[in-house]
Amino acid sequence: MKVDTHFEPASGQWQCGRCREPLQAGTAELEYLGSSFTVGVLVCLQCDQALIPEDMATGKMLEVEQLLEDK
């Protein structure tokens, strides 16, 4: 399953905390209870980091987690 939506923090100039390079638009795989998704998020490819914004974690992700838990 592929989720086309791109999730970014509402504001800020985001850098990788390790290399201090600006984050770029990328994708990250998310897995829960045997189902996986690909979502658009800000990433640092060099340090292999992906930023999950608060709205995404407490909104869409939580909703999908609960749906999967009831499957």
Binding site: G12, C16, A25, E31, E69
Partner: protein, 770 residues
């Protein structure tokens, strides 16, 4: 759960049983529905309700003797509803809407002899079932013939309109001399079943004696003739009896025509008892409205009379439980939903939340006239969900982690008396009391050691309630096993238990230990206690678990008799004590509903609350209720204990660590616990953020671990615009994120927010390579 268990459960719930009036009515007219429509002034709907079960309602609605009124529950609160007059008003002012529904004609036929209420009921019922009915009547005018046989006069227009309606259903009318010859001819020439209405014909026309008629099926000995319209006790015939016999006769004719059992499953015909129980709690007495001449009944008076209807139902459990209320139905339906939830192979388990939201307090079972076991049903279902791997992992995760904490070296401690070799007693305060009132627990232990003979040991542990409530039987056995094994080392002391839930859980141990409540022990030495009586009256709140423990409630009342001289109780208390919302891990699985239960418990208390369950005190305080735990009364700390806020999640853990350290240091002269990992990371969290963390169940220790691992094992980001860091770390099955700034001068971490998710982060790619 299998189908037979489901049926048994469904049978226990009486909410769908007929109301008293409907059960008493030989035709089972829905008088409750009629009243509900009429109180809205909706005569059209009221008429439809009548037409659904009452044959020839324009006639019968005017002359029914209303035996239902004798069983009306309102009798006990002002007087029965005048159902007969409501029906009369309804049929007088509202016409039948359209043609009665009927099933297609499949060539079945039957004959009715005599224009009578019983005969016309047979014609009406069978015509609606698709029968072609031929009616033989005396004289040329069927309406006049029918009018002659009615026990009370009915306007000719009403009779004509019902006969027109029968004709539209395909009933045909033929004049004939109602004689034994006619019956003989019909028996010889026709093959169909024949009904004879004895209101219109003499019993002498029957080819057998009336005594030979089957009293239930109303069939004659030849099996072709069915008889109605006669009083079996030879008294005068009422209209409703005539119609009722007609209905039974129609059933017999249909069964004979279809060659199916004549007698099977007919217990519900006629007037029957109901299993419904309707409580009159809170119902005020109201006298009948329709007391004058019926012809003077006005629309407004009729409406007011209908408003007196209690709309009888059971719902005693639903009215007294926020959980049962929140899911919009009642146990019979919940049992079906839970059964379906367990049975489905694919698709969404829609009842998971229903199953996990029960507080398992058993109040509903206590209130239920049939002891419907909602808690057992939900707990059993949770256990099966866990065993099948179908329990939503997030539902009870936090509570199970908390149990793990209580079982860890951070809290678990079982020791004998620090100064005596023997150990006759074991003080078991319970983890939640230690988490929320550690100083009072410490003082209570000192008091017990000073006042009891034979040595007093101490068990700082969890009884395993979170495991049992969440359906994790194996974890419960492990927790109980760990505790019992440690206590075994002390011999077999009698347990002094401070928490009612712990008391209940000990009963579920493989070998339940000998126990008594702390309140019983304190009560026996009241003269050695100096309680601080509150200045204002208080409300004694029994925890739900105590509802099943009369001795415990008695011990508490005896203990506080002098200390709380002015005492009230909330509505649901004592043997019917309601849950605060913590029971069954409701606050974990369904936090909003848990908060509602806490609010309702708090709102039920007129005065400041005193309770003897740490969870109850916590829930009451969270709902903003001034409240104390009973320990505060005997071992008060500083300040106003009623105003102390509810203990937060992080504090509830640090309090347990503090208590263990304190007791090790002071009672056993041993070093306390070393500081936990990450505790050198000093956090600054304002109230708003603290609330968010509580809501999201994020502990300070989680935050400290995220910060400690930021940029190494964990991820780290920086926002140049706000000058804030964002770090994340996977801890077990949850990834935590923390947004923070580090103060340059103090080195403290100011926490701006934290959140978490259970999804696991996998491969990270550039946008176009995905």
């Amino acid at each position: 759960m299998d189908q037979s268990e489901l049926r048994h459960l469904e049978h226990l719930c009486i909410q769908e049983e007929w109301a008293y009036c409907r059960a008493a009515c030989p035709l089972h007219v829905d008088a409750r529905g009629l009243c509900q429509a009429m109180k809205q002034g909706d005569l059209t709907t009221a008429r439809s309700i009548l037409d659904k079960t009452m044959p020839l309602a324009s006639i019968l609605g005017r002359i029914c003797e209303a035996p239902c009124e004798n069983q009306c529950k309102r009798i006990e609160a002002g007087g029965a509803i005048s159902i007969g007059r409501l029906e009369h008003f309804c049929v007088q002012h509202a016409e039948r809407r359209g043609k009665p529904l009927k099933v297609p004609d499949r060539g079945r036929k039957a004959i009715v002899v005599g224009m009578s209420l019983s005969g016309m009921t047979v014609a009406y019922d069978l015509a609606r079932k698709g029968y072609r009915i031929r009616v033989y009547h005396q004289g040329h005018d069927p309406a006049a013939a029918l009018q002659r046989t009615l026990p009370s006069p009915v306007p000719v227009e009403a009779v004509s309109s019902e006969l027109d309606s029968l004709k539209r259903l395909g009933v045909s009318f033929s004049p004939a001399q109602l004689s034994s010859g006619l019956i003989q001819d019909l028996l010889e020439q026709e093959k169909d079943m024949i009904f004879i209405g004895l209101e219109a014909a003499d019993e002498a026309i029957l080819p057998f004696d009336l005594n030979q008629v089957d009293p239930q099926a109303l069939t004659g000995p030849d099996g072709r003739l069915v008889v109605g319209g006669f009083a079996q006790d030879r008294c005068s015939m009422s209209a409703i009896q005539s119609a009722s016999q007609g209905r039974s006769a129609a059933v017999s004719i249909d069964r004979c025509t279809q060659h199916v059992s004549l007698h099977a499953d007919r217990q519900r015909e006629g007037s029957v008892p109901t299993r419904l129980v309707t409580s009159l709690e809170g119902v005020e007495s109201e006298p009948p409205v329709l007391t004058g001449d019926r012809r003077q009944d006005t629309r407004e008076a009729v409406q007011r009379e209908a408003e007196r209807c209690l709309a009888c139902e059971c719902m005693i459990c639903v009215r007294n439980c926020p959980y049962l209320d929140a899911f919009g139905s009642y146990p019979k339906s919940y049992a079906r939903q839970i059964y379906n939830n367990e049975s489905i192979v694919q698709g969404s388990h829609q009842a998971n939340n229903l199953i996990n939201s029960c507080m398992l307090c058993g109040l509903c079972t206590t209130l239920c006239p049939n002891d419907f076991p909602m808690a057992d049903l939900c707990l059993g279902s949770r256990q099966r969900m866990v065993e099948k791997g179908k329990m939503p992992p997030s539902a009870h995760d936090f509570a199970l982690k908390d149990l793990e904490f209580s079982r860890s070296k951070d809290f678990f401690l079982v020791r004998g008396d620090p100064e005596q070799a023997e150990c006759a007693w074991l003080f078991f305060p319970g983890c939640q009391l230690c988490a929320r009132h550690p100083e009072q627990v410490n003082e209570a232990y000192t008091w017990l050691r000073q006042n009891l003979e034979g040595g007093v040991g101490l068990a700082l542990a969890c009884c395993g309630a979170p495991a049992r409530w969440s359906g994790h039987r194996k974890i419960f056995q492990e927790a109980a096993g760990q505790l019992q094994a440690a206590v075994q080392e002390l011999g077999s002391p009698e347990w002094i238990v401070a928490c009612p839930s712990c008391q209940e859980m000990l009963g579920h141990f493989e070998q339940p230990p000998k126990q008594r409540s702390l309140w019983d022990v304190l009560g026996r030495h009241k003269d050695r206690l100096s309680p601080t009586s509150p200045a204002k009256p208080t409300c004694l709140v029994d925890p739900c678990t105590a509802g099943h423990m009369p001795e415990l409630r008695q011990s508490v009342r005896s203990l506080v008799q002098e200390a709380l001289p002015e005492q009230s109780e909330p509505r649901l208390n004592d043997a019917t004590a309601a849950c605060c919302g913590y029971g069954g891990l409701l606050t974990n699985a369904n936090p909003e509903l848990g908060a509602r239960a806490g609010r309702e418990r708090a709102e039920g208390c007129r005065d400041d609350a005193v309770t003897y369950c740490a969870m109850c005190r916590h829930q009451l305080a969270r709902a903003g209720k001034r409240s104390i735990h009973l320990l505060d009364l005997f071992f008060p700390g500083s300040g106003d204990p009623f105003a102390a806020p509810a203990t937060g999640l992080s504090d509830s853990r640090s309090n347990r660590r503090w208590l263990k350290s304190r007791i090790l240091e002071t009672d056993w002269n041993e070093p306390g616990l070393p500081p936990p990992a990450g505790s050198d990371i000093e956090l600054q969290i304002d109230d708003a953020v603290r609330n968010t963390l509580e809501h999201r169940r994020i502990l300070d220790s989680d935050i400290q671990q995220v910060i400690a691992a930021a940029g190494s094992e964990g991820q780290l980001f920086f926002d140049a615009q706000s000058d804030r860091f964002l770090a994340s770390l996977r801890l077990g099955e949850v990834t935590f994120w923390v947004r923070y700034t580090q103060e340059r001068d103090t080195g403290r971490y100011i926490i701006h927010t934290a959140y978490s998710h259970r999804m696991r982060l996998g491969k990270i790619r550039a946008k176009d390579s995905a």
